[in-house]
Amino acid sequence: MNFQPGKDTLKRNFKTVGTRTPRPDGLDKITGRAQFGADMTAPGMLWGLILRSPHAHARIRKIDTSKAEAVNGVHAVVTAADFGPCPDGVLDVRENIMAREKALYDGHAVAAVAATSRAAAKQALKLIKVDYEVLPHVTDVDEAMKPSAPVINNKLFTKGLDKTPRKPSNVAERFEFGHGDVEAGLKQADLVIERTFKTEATHQGYIEPHACLASMGSDGKGDIWCCTQGHFMVRQVCSALLGMDASALRVTASEIGGGFGGKTTVFIEPVALALSLKSNRPVKVVMSRSEVLRASGPTSSTSIDIKIGMNKDGTITAGDATLRYQGGAFPGSAVPYGAMAAFACYDLKAVRAVGYDVIANRPKQAAYRAPGAPMAAYAVESVVDELCKELDLDPLDVRLKNASSDGSKASYGPNFDVIGLRATLEAARAHPHYKAKLGRNQGRGVACGFWFNFGGETSVSLNVSADGTIGLSVGTPDIGGSRASIGNMAAEELGVPHDKVRCIIADTASLGYNDVTDGSRVTFASGLAAINAARDAIGKMCERAAGIWGIPVEAVTWEDGAARPSSPNAGKHEPLTLADIAAQAGATGGPISGHCEINAEGAGVSFATHLVDTEVDPETGYVKVLRYTVFQDAGKAVHPSYVEGQFQGGAVQGIGWALNEEYIYGKDGTLQNAGFLDYRIPVASDLPMIDAVIVEVPNPGHPYGVRGVGETSIVPPLAAISNSVSDAAGVRMTQLPMSPPRVLKALGRI
């Protein structure tokens, strides 16, 4: 019954899909009733707090917790010693959640306490004595790559080179993607521009800090309630770290107050569980904002070289990129994604992208919306823009001339299926924004962006109640309205009104494994699984109808929410609605439900084109965003309001990244701006309305043509804004964020 990509035809006429229905979790969220990570309590609950390293790099000689343990109300203190042997796959996680021999960054956890009150826990933290030997540190990516840099991990030998080096370094791995003869391509070009760019690390900036409540019984069974993008991941990792059976741990995903990739891993959950195990009491741990910024997973800071050749007619002859991403104190930055995505918008004969994964004394990076791609697109799209300017060519025309299209060989290997880049470029060219007049000190920027989109392991259960309503259980936490979209797809398939379907996020004991909510996969993959589960249930309902009518099931068809005889030959029977069949379920064979367990493929890549106008104050370097329009391919917008919301939210996060957001480290390697006061995310008064134009080029890999939409929207803004500011200021900007001092300096005013 499952959808067969390439075989089954795509549905094009919809009743529910494409409409703006109320969201199922809406009422709870506007009344304050919704329960987020920090909102859950348990009887006998203790408060957990974590002690963090004040040093960027330090050997931990000794930790003395005796005084802390003696504080009245303290029931447990844990350190790295409480996390025993674990599988190799989670070794880095084990070290990141609690420092062992060394503290590797400012904010690295070194110990934790659980006490009856926060005040007692706070007092106990102060009494933990850590004997540090402060070591030389490095936080900048280019500095970290120098042979003279302090070596953070002496077991790290660069992978991906022809010969593995004998000396350890901070370069974890080298990657290379591409095809064709790049040198020859560059030689052919009428103009080659080569530039180096730098971007600072940013944070996802979700408003809800990480929070969890863990409860571990002496029988070895445990529960975690937490805000996460993947409760199955939390179960796997925590059970592995604590040496538990996976099924002995049940994880329930709370409402989640934003994630953007930052909640696809664990930080406090294993610590809370260890504290609960030791104290035999439920333990709640909630990060402060300062902890979130110091010790969760920001992005890489990067340093990127780009060389692109172009002919006078706008043809790109070759593209070459070298990308260096520091991903914090452990290997695994998003540089491979950056290198793969850098030139994905262009159909090139010769292209090469080399990536270096670098470690530094910073928190281990985590995913942030299209991880790795925005910085790469920033650098490439800046050089394309400069080439257009130098050759006096229209930036949209040049992109249309070189754009990847159906069947193009992607710069990272495969051939694209049906894609919508051209459609977004054409929509931008036809939009009034592109022709609008600009004033003094104002400029316009254009940029394109790409994201792969993921599928992945997905399990969905759909239950038909006796009254004809539907319970739909999915296992992918809802970070942007996915319950509405998935519920609506199930309603569409079953032919019932959307409000007859209630979609919930089931816990890890109630459903098969689900990959985390990432890669813009949920509306695609959980949606696909929900459609398949609905088809499974429809098959069963057709069987019941066939039984009631006494005809073969092949003679029954499902249409508009009811089983009907497929042809006059099947006899004359009044249609049996879903509710009719459900009401008789007990008498016709028992409960009716549909399931789907799938490793979803065919996610369908997504492209966007952004247009932005800015104004630069030449006396202060202040940049005002005047107008912003997003054109993005959604395949099929299941819930247009939330698709627009993704476009707008991604664009604004990109605006923040481009203009003001950055991790600022002091000379001592400590984070200087660990709060929302100085980690400056855009506020309402900084922004204009963000116009969202939905382009729909159906994805052949989904029964309704759906593509993921969550991430692509953050890929173009960095470049679009930089191109716009460069246009307004008359000088090419090559560093992010374009904070006022940097802009004023580029203008030569200071």
Binding site: G26, I207, E255, I479, G480, S641, A684
Partner: protein, 172 residues
């Protein structure tokens, strides 16, 4: 430890609680009174997720001590709807899809209500500046601002004339 006894009114209900001297009103609401609708996004007055109204004035409950609540009248998100009847802003937030994750939503609603009680015909700029202390990371603010403007439009009586502009900022 020495605890302070406080009598106050929350959403019209007489409420008594005891708290430590250094506990914030937000801590009291969430941890002592079980009113978790007010959220802690920062604890330093930078995000507005804990917005409440005290004696008619919009404040961050993380920047006020619980002890200061003595004799005051406090309004929180939990009191915004009248029974099952939603406040017009709440309905418009749903209609405009002005929320994604929803964690900032209570703060935005409380703050927006406070604006509309002072200015029933705000400009887009006035809405944006009034709400500048409420951070939202999901929506880019577009749909939130539209929802507030649309609510104001609906709530205005046709005959009412525009009040003088509240505050308008000029960027230095």
């Amino acid at each position: 430890m020495f605890q302070i006894q406080v009598s106050t009114s929350i959403n019209g209900d007489d409420t008594e609680f005891s708290c430590e001297a250094d506990e914030t009103l937000l801590d009291v609401l969430r941890d002592r009174l079980g009113m978790t609708g007010s959220k802690e996004g920062c604890g330093t007055g930078d995000c507005g997720a804990c917005s409440v109204v005290v004696d008619g004035r919009l404040v961050c409950s993380c920047l006020m001590l619980g002890a200061e609540a003595q004799g005051r009248e406090i309004e929180t998100i939990e009191g915004m709807a009248d029974g099952t009847e939603l406040h017009p802003l709440q309905q418009k937030f749903l209609d405009h899809a002005a929320l994604q994750c929803g964690v900032c939503t209570p703060g935005f609603l409380v703050a927006a209500k406070s604006l509309l009680e002072r200015n029933d015909d705000p400009t887009e700029e006035e809405v944006r500046y009034w709400l500048a202390g409420n951070l939202c990371r999901c929506t880019g603010y577009d749909k939130i601002v539209r929802a507030v403007l649309d609510t104001a439009k609906d709530m205005r009586k046709p005959a009412k004339t525009k009040k003088p502009a509240a505050k308008k900022r000029v960027k230095a």
